[in-house]
Symmetry: C2
Subunit: 525 residues, 2 copies
C-alpha cells in the first residue's frame, strides 16, 4: 500500500468534519455511488447511521430530528433519483426552517458527461428546497465544504444545505497536508432586534384597541412564549400562532396561545376587527389554498401591520425586548394542569379517541400531528395536560408524520413520541415503520382510519364543484379494499393493534404509554 | 346560473382535449388544487381514472402503460410536492423514452406570489425529467396546451410533457367562442433514415471482421428485431441490446439477440476484438457506475463506430433500410419453442425459481423485471419460451417495478403481467399493491426475498472498500426485522403467499398463472 493510500479518503474527511461540527446522526438509503461514504460512516467514532427503506423517510426523519435536537442531522442519498424521493419531505422541512445537511452522492466527476442511466441534474432537483448547494468536486475540498454545509444549515434563516459528493472525491485519498477534519465554520447569528422598531411596536400596542400578535418559529418554545405572554398580560393583545408550525411547547406550566384556523373564511372571522397585527417570526396570514371568488391574502381589513422579527430572525429575542420595552416584567400567566377526563365507552370516533390520547399523554411527550381532519380533538383536549411539544405538518405535503416521529424519537430517546396520522397520508411513507422496529424507537402511532381522504371530500364542496359523480368521489375513497394498518405494522416488525371501540382504544393506548418501543394502533373511526 | 357558468370549465376543456388526442387513462393522486380536474374526469366520457396512494406509483404506472400502449397515459399530481414524489419514476420513464402527459395542479395564478405552505417551484422540479413544460395560465389556453402536451410527449424523441394547471384556469369557465376540446396537434415524425449513412454502414459491415450492432428503443419490437436478424444472417454481425431497455419482445417466433452485460469489465470482455460497432437507437456503451481506476466509456478499442439511427429516430426503419441495402431479403431465423424444464424439488433459490417462472410463463405474458441480482435466471431461461415482452428498470432508480406492472396490465388487460422484484426495491412503492387490488389487475408479483440490498454487497467490494465493518454492512441488511411481503400484500387486499421450497413456489406460481387477478408470492431465497 502506498503512502497515499494510507491517508484518509474524502469520505472519511466528510464524516470526520461533520462530527467535528456536531452532526451525530445520518439518515440514509445509500447506493453504489455512496459506498465510500457508507464505509466511512461504518468506521466513524460518533456518527450514528440509520437505514431508511425509502428516501422520503430519511429526509422527514432528519426534519423531526432537527426540530427536536435544534441542530442538523445529515442524510445520505443516492444520486438525483434518491434525492428526488426525498424532496417532498424536504419541502416540508424547508417550511419548518429545519437545519438539515442533505448529502447526495453523485457519479464520479469523470463519469458525469457520459450520461449513464442514473445521471440527472442533481443540483436542479435540489434547488427548490435548498438554501445552499455545493458539489465537492475535488477531494481536498470535501472537508471545507462539509463544514460550510453545517454552518449554512444552522445559520439564520435555518434550512437545508445540499452537499453533492461525487463518488471519486469520496474514494480518493486526501493530499498530504490536508487535515482529516475541517474546522467548524462560524454560524451566522440572526441580527439583534431593531430597537427603534421595538419602540414603535410597543407604542402601537399601547394605543391599539384590538391587537393580535402572530408568532411562529423558535418563538413557540418556552422563552418566546413567556415573553409573548408577558406582552399579552401587559397590553391585552391576543397571541396566536400560524395554523401549521414547526414545533410548539404546550401544556401545564407553559403559557397558552391561540392558533389561526385552517379555512380562510374562518381566519377572516377570527381576525375581524383587528386594528394592529404584530408579526414575530412569520408573515401575515394567507389562505392555504385559493378558492373561487375568495381572497388569498388575509390581513384583516384596516389593520396596521408591523413586524418585530422577520421569519429569519430571532423572534423570541424580539418578543423579550418588546416585553421589556413595555415594562411587562411580571411572570407570565401559565397553563394550570387539568387532565382531560376519560370518555364514555362506545364506538370510537375522532373526538373520544382524542380524549383518550389527551387523558393518557405523559409528561414531556412529543406529539407529531399529521392527523388531518381527525387530530383536532386530541390537540384541543391536550392543551391543559402535562407539558409536551406538538409538531405539525408544515408544508402541506402529506406523508411526513411517521418518519418525522421516527426522527424526533431518535433525537429524544428519553421522551415518548406519539404520532397522530390520517390513513391516506400514512400510506406515503409507511416504510418508516420498519426503521422504527429496527431502531426500537419509542413511537406510538395512532392511525385514524376513516378509509378516505376526508379533507378532500370537504374541499370538493368548498371549491364549488357541482355534481361530482361517483367516479370523482371514488378518488377520495380508501375503502376498496380496506387497508389493514395493524397488518402492515406487523408485517414490518411493529406491534399492530386494531381498535374499534373506546375501550379497545384506551386499553391499547394506555398500555403503549407505559411501555417502551414502537406500537401502531389502527383507530377505526 | 349565468350563461357564463353554463359553459365548460378549463378542467373540462383539458380532459375533453386529452380524450380527443387519444389519451384514455389518468393515474392520479389529487389534492385540493386538482378538485375541478377530478370533477371533470368524473364526468368524462372516456377517460379512466386510477387512484394511486403515492405519486411514484402514478408516474411509474404511466410509464408501464406508455411502454405497452405505445401512447401516453396522463397523470394528475398535487402541486410541487406531489410532482416531487413522482420524479424518481419519471426519471426512469425519461430513460425509457416513454410518452407521458404529466399534469401537475398548481395554486391559482393570483395565489402563487403569496408563498402559501404548498407553494414551490413546480417547473424547477419538473425540468430535469421533462422534454416540454408549460403552465396553462389562462383558461382559454388550457385546451391548446393540452393538445400540445400530447404531441410533445408523442413526438420524436418521445418523453415527458409536463403541463402545469393552475387551480383557477381549471375552475374558470371558457370564454364564449372557445371550443371545449382543442384539436389534436400533429405529432413530429422522426426523420427518415439517411440513405448515405445506410450505404456507408452496409459497406462497413461487408468488410468488418467482427461487427456488433447495438440496438435499443422501438427496434426491440418485432419489426426491428426481424430487420436486425436479417442483417445478422447476411453479414455475420452480432446483434445485442443495452443492459436495461424499455421493452423487448422475446421468445418463440421472434429473433433472439444478445444483451450487453452489467459490469463494465464484462462489457469490455464481451466486446473485445470488435472492429465495427453499429448503433441503432442508442449510444455507445458506458459503465453504469464509475469505479476507481477503471474507464467509464466502453467503446471497444480500435472499433469504428457508426450510427444508423440516433436515439430519437426510428431505429427499426433504419435497420429495415440497412437490411434492404444489404440485400438481406430472406426471412430471419426465429427462436424455436423450447420450454424450460421444471426444476428438482428442494430449497428455493433464484435459479430454480427462475426455472419455475420460465416453465409456466404463458404465451403473450408481460414480464416486468426489477429483480436486481435475482431475476437473471428467469430472464435467461425464458428466452426460448412462448413469446412475451420483457420490461426493464431503465434509469436505475429502484422502486419502479410494482407500479410499472400495474400500468402495463392496465394497458393490456388480456395479457398476464408477471412482476419480478427484489425485496429492497419493492419497499419503495409497495403501495402499488393496493391499486392492483382496487383495479383487480392481472399482475402476479414475485418478490425475491433475500433480505438484503444484495447488489450493494457486491458493489462494496467492487468499489475497493476495505474492512467495511459491521455498521456499514448493516446498511445493506433487510433481515432486522424480516419483512413479511405476503403480509403486506394481504394488508392491502392482494392475495399473499410465502414460498420457501420449489414445490411451494411452483404450486403458487402455476396456480396464479391459471387465474386472473393480483397475487404476490414472497419467494424466500
Amino acid at each position: 500500500m502506498s503512502s497515499d493510500a494510507m491517508r484518509p479518503t474524502g469520505a472519511e474527511s466528510l464524516i470526520a468534519t461533520l462530527e467535528a461540527s456536531g452532526v451525530e446522526v445520518c439518515f440514509t438509503n445509500p447506493g453504489t455511488s455512496e459506498m465510500h461514504a457508507v464505509a466511512a460512516i461504518g468506521r466513524a467514532q460518533k456518527m450514528r447511521s440509520i437505514l431508511a427503506l425509502f428516501e422520503g423517510v430519511a429526509t422527514a426523519a432528519a426534519d423531526g430530528y432537527g426540530r427536536m435536537a435544534e441542530k442538523p442531522a445529515s442524510t445520505l442519498l443516492h444520486l438525483g433519483p434518491g434525492l428526488a424521493n426525498g424532496l417532498a419531505n424536504l419541502h416540508n422541512a424547508r417550511r419548518a426552517a429545519t437545519p438539515i445537511v442533505n448529502i447526495v452522492g453523485d457519479h464520479a466527476v469523470s463519469h458525469r458527461d457520459l450520461d449513464a442511466p442514473l445521471a440527472s441534474d442533481v443540483a436542479g432537483f435540489a434547488a427548490p428546497v435548498s438554501k445552499w448547494i455545493k458539489s465537492a468536486d475535488r477531494v481536498e475540498d470535501v472537508g471545507a465544504a462539509a463544514a460550510e454545509s453545517v454552518a449554512a444549515a444552522m445559520g439564520a434563516p435555518q434550512g437545508i444545505a445540499t452537499l453533492i459528493l461525487p463518488a471519486n472525491t469520496a474514494w480518493e485519498h486526501l493530499p498530504e497536508g490536508v487535515k482529516l477534519a475541517a474546522p467548524p465554520v462560524r454560524v451566522a447569528v440572526p441580527p439583534a432586534p431593531d430597537a427603534r422598531m421595538i419602540r414603535d411596536v410597543a407604542a402601537a400596542l399601547k394605543s391599539a384597541q384590538k391587537a393580535v400578535i402572530l408568532i411562529a418559529g423558535k418563538a413557540l418554545l418556552e422563552p418566546g412564549l413567556q415573553a409573548a405572554a408577558r406582552i399579552a398580560a401587559a397590553t391585552g393583545a391576543r397571541i396566536v400562532t400560524d395554523t401549521f408550525v414547526s414545533r410548539q411547547t404546550r401544556g401545564a406550566g407553559v403559557p397558552a396561545i391561540g392558533r389561526i384556523p385552517y379555512f380562510p373564511e374562518m381566519i377572516v372571522d377570527d381576525l375581524k376587527g383587528t386594528d394592529l397585527l404584530v408579526l414575530a417570526g412569520t408573515k401575515a396570514p394567507v389562505a392555504f389554498f385559493a378558492y373561487p371568488g375568495r381572497p388569498g391574502a388575509l390581513t384583516p381589513e384596516g389593520a396596521k401591520v408591523l413586524s418585530v422579527a422577520a421569519p429569519s430572525t430571532d423572534a423570541a429575542a424580539a418578543l423579550a425586548a418588546l416585553a421589556d420595552e413595555l415594562g411587562a416584567k411580571g411572570p407570565a400567566p401559565l397553563t394550570q394542569l387539568k387532565r382531560m377526563e376519560r370518555p364514555q365507552p362506545g364506538a370510537l370516533n375522532a373526538t373520544n379517541a382524542g380524549a383518550v390520547i389527551a387523558h393518557h399523554l405523559p409528561e414531556d411527550a412529543i406529539v407529531v400531528d399529521e392527523g388531518a381532519t381527525s387530530s383536532g380533538a386530541a390537540f384541543g383536549m391536550s392543551g391543559t395536560g402535562p407539558r409536551h411539544d406538538w409538531l405539525y405538518l408544515t408544508g402541506g405535503s402529506i406523508g411526513m408524520g411517521l418518519p418525522l416521529a421516527l426522527g424526533a424519537a431518535i433525537a429524544c430517546p428519553g421522551r415518548k413520541t406519539v404520532c397522530l396520522h390520517g390513513d391516506g397520508g400514512a400510506m406515503y411513507t409507511i416504510q418508516a415503520l420498519w426503521t422504527m422496529a429496527r431502531e426500537k424507537t419509542d413511537v406510538v402511532t395512532v392511525i385514524f382510519a376513516n378509509r378516505s381522504y376526508a379533507i378532500l371530500k370537504i374541499e370538493l364542496m368548498r371549491t364549488g364543484v357541482q355534481n361530482a359523480g361517483p367516479q370523482a368521489l371514488s378518488l377520495f375513497d380508501l375503502a376498496n379494499p380496506e387497508i389493514s394498518f395493524a397488518g402492515l405494522a406487523r408485517s414490518m416488525g411493529v406491534e399492530g393493534i386494531r381498535a374499534e371501540t373506546v375501550e379497545e382504544f384506551e386499553a391499547a393506548f394506555s398500555s403503549a404509554m407505559k411501555r417502551k418501543g414502537p406500537v401502531l394502533i389502527e383507530a377505526v373511526i
